[in-house]
Subunit: 140 residues, 2 copies
DNA sequence: ACCGTTATCGCAAACAGCCGCAATAGCGGA
DNA sequence: TCCGCTATTGCGGCTGTTTGCGATAACGGT
């Protein structure tokens, strides 16, 4: 079942705007912001409204096609679910961003589940801290 | 060295507003929002501006007196550094909030440090997921 | 106690993101 | 193919937070 069909099967509709959001996400590949997506779409459909972009990202997230992650800068980043899941380390000093395999975060997720019955989504929020480079600079 | 002295030693000034922000944090004890702090201060100093509250929270955070934690998506919570550190689990469905001891998060912090040289601050962002109650309801 | 420097203030405007509304346009069925 | 239902749109406005500004007031020095 392709996206068009899935969207309709869920009682939703495949609009031009929705398709453009999807295309923008595909082209941007990595994590991107709502504003970047809006900007790209605006080239083809100038009257696109930011709220439309947000609502479509939410809708596509509900269908499992899209995910968002909170970084440190108050801006939400979106990406297609296709890419393999991973965690994020963000340096609060220099802003550098590192991806880490989910396997690293798994043990914590398992413990939270076992001890608290909590199904953690550890890819949802970036882990904030100080990266290796900044740590060595400040201690030097 | 008390707060007043520390503030001045760092080239900053101890204003009425700053002192009121500190008092509001002390009275609220637990995690509180910028708006709650502003509301409390407004009783004594009606013309206090939200931006003043934010800037003071930042300044006090820079001096190590205050910390903030990002909860589910939009709202930031502030608290005095004094309280013992702990992690947060937030249910994305019902919003329920659970505190967990840092010891639970320590193993991950250690691994991130050992394998990536990354000094994680795992108390800074709440862990988002589905709580026990919501999980059992939706699976029922 | 008085000055001069400048951190901090209150204000207004911008910011990302969200929501309710009336108008529009997908979609399934006849 | 046309029709009706209703999901979705663009708009205006709101929340929570940040920023630039000119005016004010802390504080160290005299």
């Amino acid at each position: 079942m392709n996206i068009d069909q899935t969207v309709r099967a869920s009682g939703k509709r495949m609009t031009v705007q929705r398709r453009l959001v999807l295309e923008a996400l595909e082209r941007a590949r990595h994590h991107t912001t709502a504003e970047e997506i809006a900007a790209r779409i605006r080239r083809q459909l100038p009257q696109i409204d930011p709220s439309t972009v947000y609502r479509n990202l939410e809708a596509l997230e509900g269908l499992g096609y899209v995910t968002h992650t909170h970084f440190e800068d108050r801006i939400t980043r979106w990406h297609l679910t296709g890419a393999r899941r991973h965690g994020h380390l963000v340096c609060r000093q220099c802003g550098a961003e590192t991806q880490v395999p989910m396997s690293l975060l798994e043990p914590l997720a398992r413990r939270l589940r076992a001890e608290h019955g909590f199904q953690a989504d550890l890819a949802h929020s970036a882990v904030v801290g100080i990266c290796r480079t900044c740590a060595s600079v400040s201690s030097a």
